[in-house]
């Protein structure tokens, strides 16, 4: 900081920085964070894809709000698109047509906005799976996992409300679908629907209401969560994979400034570029082809955007059961899917807490695990994805039918059965694959890499030469820690008194054995084993 006695004036930049430091304390902030280290791995950039697509959505969304009229007043279309001229439509639809055909760059911005939304959600899904499969949700990151999950969950509804705004025939059908789901809630369903739509469906209010949720309420919460998510990433520091010199207590990588600032900044423009190119070449939500919403019209192939496809699938494959009692109808065909939908999502959200309860591990973990080294978790994750994907098939059953020349009803039955059977098969197969890979790792550590060179011994035997792994590689393959399976304490304590073991504890130990018992992980090679094999050199 400059003092009054300085005769020579400091350069302008320094003076500005000093001024700012005196008021914002930027020097301390910069000192603490400029050299913040981030590890390098492509999968650590998935979150960045989400962040940047979120920013792109906000930027393009602001542009769209300048021209969009969130109103359901009926107007006649007089714009340039001939196949709709003279048709009656809401102002929301009319203004979206205006954006698409008359506003300069409007269609491109609209398409960037929509494509970025699909990619944002897909990015969050993949990012979440990366964190899941590498165990990066373990202490201390459970809360951040929940923040991320909430972002995905809110993103689904922000997307849904946005998709509904143009008031076209497709999205109107989607809103009707949602209203049907609300109506199926026992007792309060009808009240909720009347409250949300300001009367009978569709009424004249929902576009304005969805608009405020879409541009203000939901993105506001999401922005806050994104900031909190990033602060926690800074605070916890990033996880890293096993490698030489990497421990649970350090982070090996490059500093935030200048390397990561440059990389992240560049990556932002790459993400923007890729999304812009996609928006420029491929049409999305062509509302002019869909037409304005009218409750008496519907089209086949009415699906929501992909992130709601899971819910669509549940409704499509659920048998249309209902119970009529005392003049009231309980629509199980809609109510049960409505209950399964959040339950399946919650299953993945609470998983970190379940795993930490099963392991009983209270330590901090900053090393990302390789999925194969946690076979039960990996199996569970793949099972979850399988259930999700099978429901996506259910949600698009009509297109599977037409494009693969199948019967719609057979697909529906396939989905009904495989929603339950598929995850079980996926779990077993994945766990087996993980164990196989663990065995392979063990084999590589003990015997070296297969070189492909065949050697003929003097007595005629052929052997393949195995090359020993480098020290770093040996470390990478053996550094993971393995839990010992938990066991219940003896039934009677040292004084011969029967020990009281709670039912939950018994369950915990049982699950723990399932996770880390004899056939759920391959014991990693010990130093003794390694030395013994290596001393008998040349044999395998």
């Amino acid at each position: 900081m400059s003092t009054v006695t300085d005769t020579k004036k400091a350069p302008a930049g320094e003076r500005v920085a000093d001024w700012a430091d005196g008021r914002l304390g930027i020097y301390t902030l910069a000192k603490a964070n400029m050299r913040k280290i981030f590890p390098d791995h492509w999968s650590f950039m998935l979150g960045e894809i989400c962040l940047y697509s979120f920013l792109i959505i906000i930027l393009t969304g602001v542009y769209l709000t300048m021209f969009f009229h969130p109103s359901m007043n009926e107007v006649e279309y007089v714009g340039p698109y001939v196949p709709l001229q003279g048709q009656l439509m809401s102002e929301a639809f009319n203004s979206t047509m205006h954006i698409s055909f008359e506003v300069r760059g409007g269609l491109l911005i609209r398409q960037i906005h929509h494509w970025a939304a699909l990619i944002f959600l897909a990015g969050m899904f993949v990012h979440m799976m990366r964190v899941f499969f590498t165990g990066a949700f373990r202490k201390p990151r459970e809360i951040n996992w929940l923040f991320g999950f909430l972002l995905f969950f809110l993103g689904m509804f922000t997307g849904f409300t946005g998709y509904s705004l143009p008031d076209d025939l497709l999205s109107g059908t989607g809103v009707r679908f949602m209203q049907g789901a609300i109506l199926s809630v026992p007792v309060i369903g009808t009240y909720l629907s009347m409250f949300l739509f300001g009367g009978e469906f569709p009424g004249g209010d929902f576009v304005a209401r969805f608009y405020s949720a879409h541009v203000l309420l939901l993105p506001g919460i999401m922005l806050g969560l994104v900031v909190a998510h990033l602060i926690l990433v800074f605070f916890h520091k990033h996880t890293q994979f096993e490698g030489p010199g990497r421990t649970n207590k350090n982070v090996v990588g490059m500093p935030l400034l200048p390397v990561y600032m440059a990389k992240a900044g560049g990556f932002f423009f790459l993400v923007f570029g890729v999304i812009a190119v996609i928006a420029a070449i491929a049409s999305i939500n062509p509302i002019w082809a869909l037409g304005p919403y009218r409750p008496d019209q519907v089209s086949t192939g009415a699906q929501p955007d992909w992130y709601m496809g899971f819910a669509e699938g549940l409704i499509r494959v659920m048998p249309g059961w209902e119970i009529n009692l005392w003049g009231h109808t309980l629509v199980l065909g809609v109510m049960i899917p409505l209950a399964i939908f959040p339950a399946v999502l919650a299953a993945i959200a609470v998983y970190p807490f379940i795993e930490s309860w099963i392991t009983g591990d209270k330590r901090e973990h900053h090393i990302a695990q390789r999925p194969r080294n946690a076979p039960t978790r990996t199996g569970f994750g793949v099972a979850w994805i399988t259930a999700y994907m099978i429901m996506l098939i259910g949600g698009g059953n009509d297109l599977w039918a037409t494009h693969f020349h199948l019967s719609l009803n057979s697909i529906t039955w396939f989905v009904r059965i495989f929603f339950f059977v598929g995850p079980v098969i996926a779990f077993i197969v994945t766990k087996r694959i993980c164990l196989g890979l663990q065995r392979r790792d063990k084999d590589k550590v003990l015997h070296g890499r297969e070189s492909g060179i065949i050697k003929r011994l003097p007595h005629g035997e052929f052997v393949e030469i195995h090359e020993p792994l480098s020290q770093g590689e040996l470390h990478r393959l053996t550094a993971h820690e393995q839990y010992d399976a938990a066991a219940l304490p003896p039934a009677v304590d040292e004084n011969g008194v029967e020990r009281k073991i709670g039912r939950m504890e018994k369950l915990r130990v049982k699950l723990n054995k399932g996770y880390y018992g004899g056939d759920s992980q391959i014991a990693k090679p010990t130093v003794e084993e390694y030395k013994e094999i290596q001393s008998g050199h040349g044999h395998h």
């Binding site: 001229q85 494509w115 082809a289 009218r294 698009g396 039918a401």
Partner: protein, 269 residues
């Protein structure tokens, strides 16, 4: 009368009489001509029926019966009309390759003349919808926007917003309307082939059919354009979602791998 009798020996009198006679004959001919052509047509018609019956016995009788009365393998053709034949045979659906949930469109194997003969024969079995003339199905001057509204009200629930087709139960489907000629669109509405309901003129007047044809041609014809770029099949969010995952996220992950692979390195020398 005096004038007339005075000129009856005029040199041009014969010409005038000839002209009058010709005009009278021509007029009379013109007045009775329709009956005359009908008579001529009748012979042509009976010839066509004759020829059509021969074609029918070869290509159709095995399923629809020797007299079009229908068998367990195919419905009766009595009363289906020439429009139904023109549609089914003209789009290659008939003769069917095999029984199944629905007979698909395929290459047409009959010439239009043969189709007309077949249609004439089937029409002779019982009255039914008649093959439309061009003035009936031509979409020229029709109201496209009205057609769009009618399409979304009556057709989209099976054929999709712009006629890309859609699934029905047990392997049946509503076909894609791309490249279907106006005549066949008209006939399909008129006769309700296979799983489609029929829209006779009593429920959907000729003008509305024309509007619908004009709309289908505008959004799904050769001249239809997609202002937003690739239409991705016009199938809506499923193909968009697939595209976003495969090309959107796929490209971004490839970029991420590339960026991560090019890390900053301390350069020596």
């Amino acid at each position: 009368m005096k004038k007339l009798s005075a000129r009856r020996r005029h040199p041009l009198a014969a010409v005038v009489v000839l002209l009058l006679a010709l005009a009278a004959t021509g007029g009379l001919y013109a007045a009775f001509a329709p009956a005359g052509t009908a008579k001529a047509d009748e012979t042509a018609q009976s010839l066509a029926i004759e020829e059509g019956k021969k074609l029918y016995s070869v290509g159709c009788a095995s399923c629809h019966g020797t007299g079009g009365q229908g068998t367990s393998d195919g419905p009766s053709l009595v009363g289906v009309g020439s429009a139904a034949v023109d549609f089914q045979v003209g789009t290659g659906r008939m003769p069917a390759q095999q029984p199944g949930a629905q007979v698909p469109k395929k290459k047409t194997i009959y010439s239009q003349a043969e189709i007309d003969q077949l249609a004439a024969y089937v029409a002779s079995l019982g009255a039914g919808p008649i093959t439309p003339t061009e003035s009936q199905y031509s979409p020229d001057g029709a109201d496209i926007a009205k057609g769009g509204e009618l399409f979304r009200t009556n057709c989209a629930q099976c054929h999709n917003f712009t006629g890309e087709g859609g699934a029905l139960t047990y392997g049946k489907y509503a076909p894609n309307l791309e490249g279907v000629s106006p005549k066949h669109l008209y006939e399909a509405m008129q006769t309700g082939p296979q799983n489609m309901p029929s829209f006779p003129d009593t429920t959907m007047p000729e003008k509305e059919k024309k509007d619908i044809i004009a709309y289908v041609q505008a959004v799904n014809g050769e001249k239809a354009d997609s202002p937003g770029g690739l239409s991705l099949g016009g199938l809506g969010p499923v193909s968009e979602g697939l595209f976003a995952w495969v090309f959107g996220l796929g490209a971004l992950i490839a970029v991420a791998v590339w960026v991560a692979a090019h890390t900053a390195k301390a350069k020596k020398s």
